[in-house]
């Protein structure tokens, strides 16, 4: 293999990895805030992809133009799921962990069924867009524009997240994460913070959805594929760590690209999964997890 081919593989892996990081960071954020794993995270992605597809079809605008609208919509979806489902799951005394897992699993199945019911199991794709199908050539290396756009969006989102952590709201999030009871004394409404946290988490994965919709097939099960990768990414980086999600996302993207070189394409997920097991074997809380 030539050096050029290797750089090609690594560059594609890096871009995909940044997108994986963007998919995963919302999950990690929510967990960091309240110790809940949202097993419907992949389904949030799926909703965002369908929303992008629908809006593009309806307004005939470009996916990039409708993205802010989708992100706003996903913020509402996330906040609504917290208020309507997760708030109750957190209230239970018995089997709290299990209730959280299975109520969000139930939600995931419900959303999948809903997508099948309203949109049929057919595979859809956005046929034409500004970026779709275009590639950038850099000294013999070809990079698809949608992935470049995704990578840049992801970096921008992580930069924005690190800025948010310095604002008052960011401090309220941090304080609520530290001590849920004490924040009430200084006038922070715990439920409001959690709802916004869920909104933010869903908005981030929604942003990733608007990118994926440009170059990936949209169907009711699409969330399951990316969902599994998101769980592995978050656990690899350490639950609750935003920086960990970024690093782990890039690692997952690179390892996946390299695995695809060595093993048959049907086995490309094995590399990521094996890496994950190897890492948690030595670091049971992931690369940057607390505990």
């Amino acid at each position: 293999m030539t050096a050029q081919a290797l750089i090609q593989v690594l560059a594609s892996g890096l871009l995909m990895g940044l997108i994986y990081a963007l998919i995963a960071v919302g999950l990690s954020l929510i967990f960091g805030l309240m110790d809940v794993v949202n097993f419907a995270h992949g389904e949030f992605l799926m909703i965002a992809m369908y929303a992008t597809f629908g809006l593009v079809l309806w307004t005939t605008l470009d996916p990039i133009v409708v993205a802010p609208l989708v992100v706003g919509l996903m913020f509402c979806v996330g906040a609504f799921v917290y208020v309507a489902v997760v708030r109750y799951a957190m209230r239970t005394k018995a089997n709290a962990g299990m209730v959280q897992i299975f109520s969000t699993f139930g939600l995931a199945i419900l959303i999948q069924g809903g997508a099948q019911y309203f949109f049929t199991p057919d595979y859809r794709s956005i046929k034409t867009s500004w970026l779709g199908g275009h590639t950038l050539e850099l000294g013999g290396i070809f990079l698809p524009w949608p992935q470049i756009y995704g990578g840049l969006i992801s970096i921008a989102a992580f930069a924005a997240l690190s800025l948010i952590s310095r604002t008052d709201f960011g401090k309220a999030l941090e304080a609520t994460r530290e001590d849920q009871g004490a924040v009430a004394l200084v006038g922070i409404d715990r439920n409001k913070v959690f709802a916004i946290g869920w909104g933010l988490g869903a908005a981030l994965v929604g942003l990733a959805g608007t990118v994926l919709a440009i170059f990936y097939y949209i169907h009711p099960q699409v969330g399951a594929t990316f969902g599994t990768i998101a769980y592995v990414t978050v656990a690899l980086g350490g639950f609750g760590s935003v920086f960990g999600a970024l690093v782990a996302g890039v690692i997952v993207g690179l390892v996946e690209a390299i695995t695809a070189l060595i093993l048959p394409p049907t086995m490309k997920a094995v590399g990521i999964f094996a890496l994950y097991l190897a890492v948690v074997f030595f670091r049971p809380s992931g690369l940057f997890g607390k505990l």
Binding site: I111, G113, Y117, A224, V280, F281
Partner: protein
């Protein structure tokens, strides 16, 4: 210790023994009643639903040994189910070895694998453990997909033969499968019943409630988890072997996909984890409901069956976190 406290202890002991006896009597009555069902139900479709209900009750009870009693939530039991199904199928189709033996081989392989994997995963806590089990099962699924010796993506078709109890093939009559599935459930139930009151049973519950405290009191936490995993994996695999004989055709997706891992956990969760009757009760509600909604609403791929399935899981998990079994037990009573 005064005589009064001694006698009150003795009374409580007697009450406990009486309760254990009562549980056995209730079980005998319930299983005997279930055994009579095929006399009244002649419809093949309904018999199918009953067989699946009993099978999933048994497998979910096996999951419950690790997930409910020992508190280690596995989202990857499809791996063991698949190993059982494949062991029985490969041994029968390629080597003419009867599935009775193949199931046990699958069970032993799964138990060994569960212990091996346990060395890796039982250091992990909470969500890290659940996701590791999910990931391991996914790796298994991908490997079987790419393993030509076991049929790869095409799977394994059992040959058509004459009906025989040895080969567990009954083309015309479903009733023998019904009794096998019931037998499996009875065996797993009895194993759970006896373990519940053994040293392992107490250790498992201690590990579930507070592993650090258990460790400090001399419970061998790590070994407890390994033992629970081995027993749980063994019976899950036996269930998988039976399933393969029952449906006569398996491929990786139809026995090892994540859908199954969820399906094994759900009855126990819905009915009540760490209880003797939670998994059977959960299966008796969940399986007929999902099978029937799938036949009547899901055939066209409309997704309505999934909507009902998902909503049901959510509602029960939120409304009855202790499981539906708590509806039947008295207010004072923790576990039935």
């Amino acid at each position: 210790m005064t005589d009064a406290t001694l006698s009150s202890l003795k009374l409580r002991g007697d009450a406990f023994i009486a309760k254990r006896r009562r549980q056995l009597v209730v079980a005998a009555a319930v299983f005997a009643a279930v055994a009579c069902l095929p006399l009244g139900i002649r419809d093949v479709y309904l018999q199918n639903v009953l067989i699946l209900t009993l099978l999933y009750a048994a497998v979910s009870q096996s999951w419950n040994i690790l997930g409910g009693y020992c508190g280690q939530i596995s989202l990857g039991h499809a791996l063991y189910f698949g190993i059982g199904a494949y062991a029985a199928s490969v041994l029968y189709v390629n080597y003419d070895i009867v599935p009775w033996f193949g199931m046990v081989v699958g069970g032993v392989l799964s138990a060994i694998l569960a212990v091996g994997l346990g060395f890796m995963t039982f250091r992990l806590k909470g969500h890290y453990f659940a996701i590791a089990t999910l990931v391991i099962a996914e790796i298994g699924l991908v490997l079987v997909h790419n393993w030509d010796f076991v049929g790869g993506a095409l799977g394994i078709q059992w040959p058509f033969g004459t009906d025989s109890i040895w080969t567990l093939q009954f083309a015309r009559d479903k009733v023998p499968y019904f009794y096998f599935a019931l037998g499996l459930l009875v065996v797993v139930w009895l194993v759970t019943y006896f373990i519940e009151n053994s040293r392992w049973g107490f250790w498992w519950r201690a590990v579930k409630d507070d592993p650090e405290a258990a460790e400090s009191l001399g419970v061998e936490v790590f070994r407890s988890k390994l033992a629970a995993a081995a027993v749980s994996a063994f019976f899950t695999a036996v269930g998988g072997g039976f399933y393969a004989a029952f449906v006569s055709y398996i491929d990786p997706e139809s026995v090892m996909s994540f859908r199954f891992s969820l399906l094994f956990a759900l009855p126990a969760v819905l009915g009540g984890i760490g209880t003797l009757w939670g998994a059977p009760l959960g299966a008796a509600i969940l399986i007929p409901l999902t099978e029937i909604t799938r036949s009547y609403l899901g055939g066209s791929g409309s997704g309505l069956d999934l909507i009902i399935y998902g909503a049901l899981i959510m509602v029960v998990a939120l409304a009855k976190p202790e499981g539906l079994l708590s509806l039947f037990t008295r207010k004072s009573g923790g576990k039935a």
